[in-house]
């Protein structure tokens, strides 16, 4: 059956504006043939960098691992690849449903084992060669055969049997077993005629020759390590040319410095703001703060007694934590609303289920009666009834005589986690549990997790539009085969949960049934209280309205700009006309710099003269 047809128009999601259509057609008419024959090297004829015009400057803190899509794993580089290479499908920016990209439409067999993608006609690489089904088949096949090429995306081709190009515009993928991620294959398609000639994909970084041949809305044209990455618009992109001519990613390792750079107009866009930074920027002239519903959850897990898949126990978690009542009491002692207000300054939602509320289709909340909402009195009562006796020093003892003294591992590089941890220490003390906060490096924390040497431990995940992966983390399969090799992030294993996981998988085409099943799974996680979500932090971003007139968020309501699936934001961004920050002309600025250097040199010279004079005076 055909699942989806491509929408007809070439620009379904672009906010329409007369000026832009004009610009687009002019480009199509004349400049394009010229631009293609020699993709422009980074042109900076006007020496300003971000002061408006058609350059959009984005502040970044993360480094580049590789510009080879086979190797790149970091958020920054994968994001850049989504701007410069095509993928089979994408996500609709408005609805977040899977949407056509390089594949115009697709088919799946009834058993879900064969997928056929129809490749869009007339799409070209930036060197003029056509993008064909062969390129797609070659990209996937290379990742299946060469483990070095699967460094970054091996998870996507896991369970692929064979990928073949039936003709120039049809790709068939055969699977060993049905997979839920076939419309979320975030694998950049590469030009075979260039990449087939490379010997060792483990060592090729794709950063030797610019511009880099791709077929996205932008072309990678320049890279200065730790300074900037430059992308130029691909005027010839099948969906239409992007609004800005140039995207520059500039390095700012310090967030506060980044905020100041946005303030004075050196940057057009920044993301990952703290609530304090967002508050400070709110109301600033020419700056818009985008307070987007986040796709992350922040959580802590409780060590229920770690086991391998064969049932071998290991680690040194507190023995009493195997008791569900104790775990539930811990959850009831925590005031999530207070965390949202005090730690996140209101820029978050209190967590209900496992999947963040942003994903309306899958998020879940307990009914009032069965809720483990904040209620320390109820928690104390539960513990009293279960035989945890309060000691004289205000710390309870388990029926087996173990003092309820727990360690709590928290990432020390995340200020919000540290604050949440401090609140939790206090709240748990009120129900007779002594918590020793261990605020440690992520490395130490991850060692504690894999060795199961923890009691409570913090975690957090960014959730994909399809929640399959984060759900798979808590199946029994995710338990370690041998101690220290876990795939998940909690030692959770529940047969009913596993059955439901299999079922949601097969219900892939019945959205309502799948939604219900995923809700059931979250109910189990909630009741077992091993994996406990606390908040869904918002994504806080800001941009200069005097540089960016308009930009697409995903989803349309309360959506985000930076963490999108697909290239929508930067493709849709429209330059503002005539605006610019309060910057002094580059010449004057350079003059001031020169004056200061001269002054310093002068001081040095003077000192030298005085010493020389002394020497001259010597008797």
């Amino acid at each position: 059956m055909v699942i989806q047809q491509a929408p007809p128009g070439p620009r379904p999601y672009r906010p329409s504006r007369p000026g832009r259509a004009l610009r687009g057609s002019a480009a199509a008419g004349a400049a394009l043939a010229l631009a293609l024959s020699a993709m422009p090297a980074p042109v900076h004829a006007d020496e300003g960098d971000a002061g408006g015009g058609d350059t959009l400057t984005i502040g970044i803190g993360q480094q580049v691992d590789s510009f080879s899509p086979f190797l790149a794993q970091l958020a920054l580089t994968t994001r850049i690849h989504s701007l410069t290479y095509p993928t089979l499908t994408t996500y609709d920016p408005e609805t977040m449903e899977p949407a056509p990209e390089l594949a115009e439409s697709w088919d799946t067999s009834d058993d879900g084992l064969t997928w056929t993608f129809d490749i869009r006609d007339g799409v070209e690489w930036t060197d003029g060669e056509p993008v064909t089904a062969e390129d797609v088949a070659w990209t996937f096949s290379t990742m299946m055969e060469d483990s070095a090429a699967a460094t970054a995306g091996g998870n996507y081709v896991e369970g692929f049997e064979e990928v073949t190009a039936e003709d120039d515009s049809t790709v068939r993928i055969e699977l060993e077993e049905p997979r839920s991620t076939m419309l979320a294959l975030n694998v950049p398609i590469l030009p075979e005629h260039i990449w087939a000639e490379i010997d060792d994909y483990g060592e090729y970084n794709n950063d030797e020759e610019f511009p880099v041949v791709g077929s996205g809305p932008f072309v990678l044209t320049g890279y200065e390590p730790n300074r900037s990455i430059t992308l130029e618009a691909n005027e010839d992109h099948w969906r239409g040319a992007p609004g800005f001519d140039t995207l520059v990613f500039r390095y700012y390792p310090d967030k506060d410095g980044m905020v100041e750079a946005l303030r004075n107009g050196e940057l057009s866009f920044i993301e990952g703001l703290t609530p304090a930074q967002a508050d400070a920027l709110e109301g600033e002239d020419g700056v818009a703060v985008n307070n987007a519903t986040g796709n992350r959850f922040q959580a802590f897990t409780i060590n229920p007694g770690a086991e391998t898949q064969d049932g071998e126990e290991f680690g040194d978690g507190h023995p009493s934590l195997a008791d569900t009542t104790l775990r539930q009491a811990i959850v009831r002692a925590i005031d999530k609303e207070e965390l949202v207000g005090k730690v996140y300054g209101g820029y978050a939602d209190p967590a209900t289920g496992y999947i963040p509320s942003r994903f309306e289709d899958y998020t879940w909340a307990p009914d009032d009666g069965e809720s483990l909402d904040f209620d320390p009195d109820a928690a104390n009562e539960m513990l009293d009834e279960a035989g945890y006796e309060m000691g004289d020093d205000g710390v309870r003892e388990s029926p087996d005589g173990d003092r309820l003294e727990l360690r709590m591992h928290v990432h020390n590089d995340r200020p919000d986690y540290v604050q949440v941890g401090q609140f939790m220490e206090e709240w748990l003390a009120e129900i007779g549990i002594e918590v020793q906060g261990e605020y440690v490096d992520p490395g130490v924390l991850s060692d504690a997790l894999y060795d199961a040497e923890y009691d409570l431990i913090f975690t957090g995940w960014q959730v994909n539009p399809d929640p399959d992966y984060v759900l798979s983390l808590h199946t029994c399969d995710a338990l370690p085969e041998t101690p220290g090799s876990m795939r998940g992030d909690a030692y959770f294993c529940n047969e009913e949960y596993d059955e439901l996981y299999e079922r949601q998988f097969s219900e892939y085409e019945d959205a309502d049934a799948r939604k219900e099943t995923i809700g059931e799974m979250q109910r189990i996680l909630y009741d077992e209280a091993v994996v406990n979500t606390l908040t869904y932090p918002n994504a806080l971003e800001a941009y200069r309205t005097d540089q960016i007139a308009d930009i697409q968020t995903q989803p349309a309501e309360g959506g985000l700009i930076w963490g999108q699936d697909g290239y929508w934001a930067w493709w849709s961004a429209e330059p503002a006309q005539g605006g610019s920050g309060l910057r002094i002309p580059a010449g004057a600025a350079a003059g001031i710099g020169a004056a200061v250097v001269l002054l310093a040199a002068g001081a040095g010279f003077l000192l030298w003269r005085r010493r020389a004079a002394t020497a001259g005076d010597r008797e």
Binding site: P42, H44, E47, D49, Q63, V64, D65, S66, Q73, A148, A150, T151, G154, N155, E158, G202, P225, N226, R227, S228, T230, R250, Y251, Y252, P253, D254, D256, G257, E260, A261, R263, N264, D413, D441, P442, G443, V444, S446, D447, Y450, W461, Q462, R487, L582, R583, I584, A589, A590, G591, I592, G593, A594, V597, A600, A603, G604, L607, R610, R611, T614
Partner: protein, 349 residues
């Protein structure tokens, strides 16, 4: 470090040439001993560096793939590419062999040779930290001399007070303050300086680049100088105070020399010695950069590179940087040891 390497040889009855030869031999032995010490320290640093960072908690592959969906095969592939699938002794041998070939390995995070990364960053670091150290030293010497010579005067009190106040200010805070005041602009006040980076992307032409870099250099250097010049000032001031009680100054005054001449010709040259040692020691740390200043001003230097490597840990990168930082300090100490006898005859005997 500056003590004579051996006890004084009996001068005895030797004639002029014999004494001279003896002097050369003694000098060579002094130099030899210093070189040997430096070589031993360097070797110790190389070995320590390998094991030190392997004791650090955290698994590079896990921390690099944290929060992402990866298969077991992908993790194994990464371990293979990084050489972490080899036994420890094999890794150690490879590391040692690499060092002797000046092959520092390939960074895990950046996937380019470490030597290349260091090459890119060492220039900016030396530019920033070197300029900062020199200006701070000059400023400290001048102000310290003034303050010491007129001890207790208003100049002294103001200078020492201001210097100590700035010395106790955290550099990242001062840097941010300067950015807010001088770079962001507030209301009708324009931002005078860029908030960070070393160069405006796309600047071309030698003069333009030099001016642009100088423009970017002002705030970070100012921050660094403001925070560190106090140590030069204080050392210069106190060693000048030591000299001021000395008999030769009284003699110089008795000769009727002007005050300024007494200061310049007699007091300052003697008081300069401890400060010179300090400058050398600090120059050794110049390559280590000034991590906080580099971070606040987005300066592409070695300090921030080291920091980014530590969080992974990016073993080849942090190992190489550790060896580099340590050898710079060792080298500068060695230089100080070798130069000192030339400056101070007392060390020669």
């Amino acid at each position: 470090m500056t003590a004579p390497a051996h006890s004084e040889a009996p001068a005895g009855h030797g004639a002029g040439s014999g004494e001279q030869r003896e002097g050369i031999v003694r000098g060579l032995r002094y130099i030899g001993a210093k070189l040997l010490t430096a070589a031993v320290s360097l070797f110790a640093v190389m070995v320590t560096s390998f094991f030190l960072f392997r004791i650090l908690p955290g698994d590079p592959v896990r921390s690099m793939t944290q929060g992402r969906e990866v298969t077991v095969e992908q993790e194994q592939e990464l371990r293979r590419q990084f050489g972490l699938d080899q036994p420890l002794w094999q890794q150690f041998l490879d590391y040692c062999a690499g060092l002797f070939r000046f092959d520092l390995g390939v960074s895990y995070q950046y996937r380019i040779p470490v030597a290349e990364l260091i090459g890119e960053r060492i220039g900016p670091t030396v530019l920033l930290a070197g300029t900062g150290t020199l200006i701070a030293a000059l400023l400290g010497l001048v102000l310290g001399t003034r303050a010491g010579w007129r001890r207790g005067s208003a100049t002294d009190r103001v200078n020492t007070g201001v210097a100590l106040l700035l010395w106790s200010v955290p550099s990242f805070w001062l840097g941010l303050l300067l950015i807010v005041v001088l770079a962001s602009g507030a209301g009708w006040v324009p931002g005078l300086f860029p908030t960070g980076g070393m160069m405006t992307p796309g600047t071309t032409g030698l003069l333009d680049v030099a001016l642009d870099v100088a423009h970017h250099l002002v705030l970070p250097v100012a921050t660094m100088v403001a925070v560190v010049y106090a140590q030069y000032l204080m050392i210069m001031r106190s060693s000048l105070l030591d000299e001021m009680g000395a008999d030769y100054l009284t003699t110089a005054r008795a000769k009727g020399l002007r005050d300024a001449l007494v200061l310049r010709r007699h007091a300052v040259p003697n008081a300069l010695l401890p400060t010179v040692t300090l400058i050398f020691l600090n120059l050794g740390q110049v390559v280590g950069g000034v991590i906080l200043v580099e971070t606040v001003f987005a300066w592409p230097g070695l300090g921030s590179l080291f920091y980014s490597g530590l969080t992974v840990p990016d073993l080849p990168l942090v190992q190489a940087l550790f060896v580099l930082f340590a050898s710079a300090v060792i080298l500068m100490n060695l230089l100080a040891d070798l130069v000192y006898p030339l400056l101070d005859p007392r060390v020669r005997t």
